[in-house]
Symmetry: none
Subunit: 191 residues, 4 copies
DNA sequence: GATGAATGAGATTTCATTCAT
DNA sequence: TATGAATGAAATCTCATTCAT
């Protein structure tokens, strides 16, 4: 599914009813992913679970990939907003920033546990480069901007620092959710 | 693909010819994942690329999932062996252990770049709990054992320390490979 | 094909169009059995002959076995109805009942010659015990009830009488149809 | 499988060892039919159960159909021999003949219960007309000859009498074995 | 003769997507 | 707009048969 398809929603959700339907579809998608896994994630099944017909689903999402993409975008939108509103109030040492960052990250993940788990399933099959253009840059920028307000350190390469912080955080997160899901035993995310 | 299927290889590679065929299939699998992505990863395509018939593939792997599973198992086998042979020679401070662990980890990943990238694609669609039973415990045990030989620190909960170390390492690794793959722009692993 | 699969139809033929499609598939199935035999009885071939796509076939029958099962059920449904309406008017001697039973049986068979022949082919490869639960008991009950209204005889074990009557009738029927089919020479049903 | 293939054994079992192997294959075939059903009846499985390689199986039977055919032929051979040696000693009334016939029939079936059940499964997928030529005529002839020695009756159409006798017998037999197999409840053979 | 790895045609089944109603 | 029946390409998997060893 790494082809280049139209990923934009088919119609702007001008009307309230549309918005509701779209949300319902996205919610159902998460449930289907969680219950049935990625390869039983079919448009028919999602529509069924949503309580609408496939036809309706296709009215809002031009294809399956767009549906998954919307799911991801929504999630990262939240993450970005959260990062962009990290309190910059002093004292802003590196340690304190790190904690605030972790707090923001964890808050979003914990408030959206199912969504998080579902998206980890999808990770392998989406167009990374488009996602980068659309949202990852925003995450990056938010962190870099925060780094620049740190008072007790100065970095040559803020990008790398940002990257490292976020990646380690992501690693912990992923492993933690993996552990929780297959909770028979301590479980690592795929390394 | 999180169903419970038979994942054991169909026949023991008693003869030399079989062994060669199996290895060829596994190698081809990695290439197909890399070139075509997870959802174009079809048994037909793998067989084709291997240069054998589908029938032959199915002679050794009872189903597609088992093929992916074999791929993962082989990779983690290497990782486990690598961890199990981390030098325990003094001075064994926590910092030194961490470095040795990272070295071992990175060495395996760098020696198997394609395999690593390919497996990150597969991560979402495998039976985590079975994998845990089969191999993750071994990784964990190896690290815990190493932690116990550390001389400058003592831990209440070695499991959590091991888990944290490995997860952060994994996060960095994943993001790094993701960045390298989609090298148009700075890229984070799916968070 | 004696495994335990879902045999229930996939969707209720709520709409008229569906009903027509289902009937067409069943009719085509009989033709395929007759023309091509059991081991050329493929879902693709049936769909083709019906004039629909395979997908459509699978929309109504979850698998091949369910299709065969539906065929059998429909046939026995007729037989059951026929037995259940055997005239009970006096004089109801055993001989007369036997004749009425034979009449009913033969009437159904002769009105559905192709279906009958086709089903004899299928006999060996269906789930007998499920069929028993679903329909054979009904046949049995109908006959037993009729036996009880016989005036010139009284049976200790009506079940066995019913069984014997019906089995002998079935044997004759099967051999007769076998003979007619392979009409080069006198032909017995497989004994 | 109603095509016209070579059904003759590939080699005459000149040597004793061959004979043993052939018998083993035929026995294994019956077991596979009984355990796995007709559509899991594969040459590989039969070979496996026999304890030889597929290659060896194909040394003795040119194809799968020939194997099934051999199975049937062997069974009817026994039945024919049994009919041909029905005692003709007086008093040879029709009733006595019928009993002797039934005795012979039942004796063969009961001495070969597994074989009988297995063959009922196969019934639908064999070349009836070839079987008629090869063996059914012999059964028929044997019975007709016996009928002619009956002292208390004379028939215009001995063929039909023979046919009727044998068919009814077959019907009872088939239903009985069906009942025994699916012994949850009283079971009729497919009517 | 015996073996069993390899073949590949072909069967079953799924599922994204369309379109007539 | 909504529906869901129909489509059919394509995926998974099986199995009769062959043939090099």
């Amino acid at each position: 599914m790494n082809t280049t398809k139209r990923l934009q929603p088919r119609k702007k959700p001008a009307q309230a009813r549309s918005k509701v339907t779209i949300d319902a579809i996205l919610t159902a998608s998460i449930q289907v992913l969680l219950r049935n896994g990625l390869d039983k994630f079919t448009t028919t099944r999602v529509a069924e679970r949503t309580g609408v017909s496939v036809g309706t689903l296709y009215q809002y999402f031009p294809n399956k990939e767009a549906l998954l993409y919307a799911l991801l975008l929504k999630h990262f939108e939240m993450l970005a907003k959260s990062f962009e509103t990290i309190p910059k109030a002093p004292p802003m040492t590196l340690e304190i920033l790190s904690l605030r960052l972790a707090d923001a990250y964890i808050a979003v993940k914990m408030a959206n546990v199912d969504e998080t788990k579902a998206l980890y399933m999808v990770a392998g099959s989406i167009n990374q480069s488009r996602l980068t253009k659309d949202i990852f840059l925003r995450l990056d920028t938010a962190i870099i901007k925060a780094l620049e307000s740190v008072t007790d350190a100065r970095f040559e390469d803020t990008q790398t620092v940002s990257f490292t912080l976020l990646s380690a955080l992501a690693g912990l997160s992923r492993s933690t959710f993996a552990r929780e899901t297959a909770n028979k035993s301590r479980n690592l995310a795929l390394n």
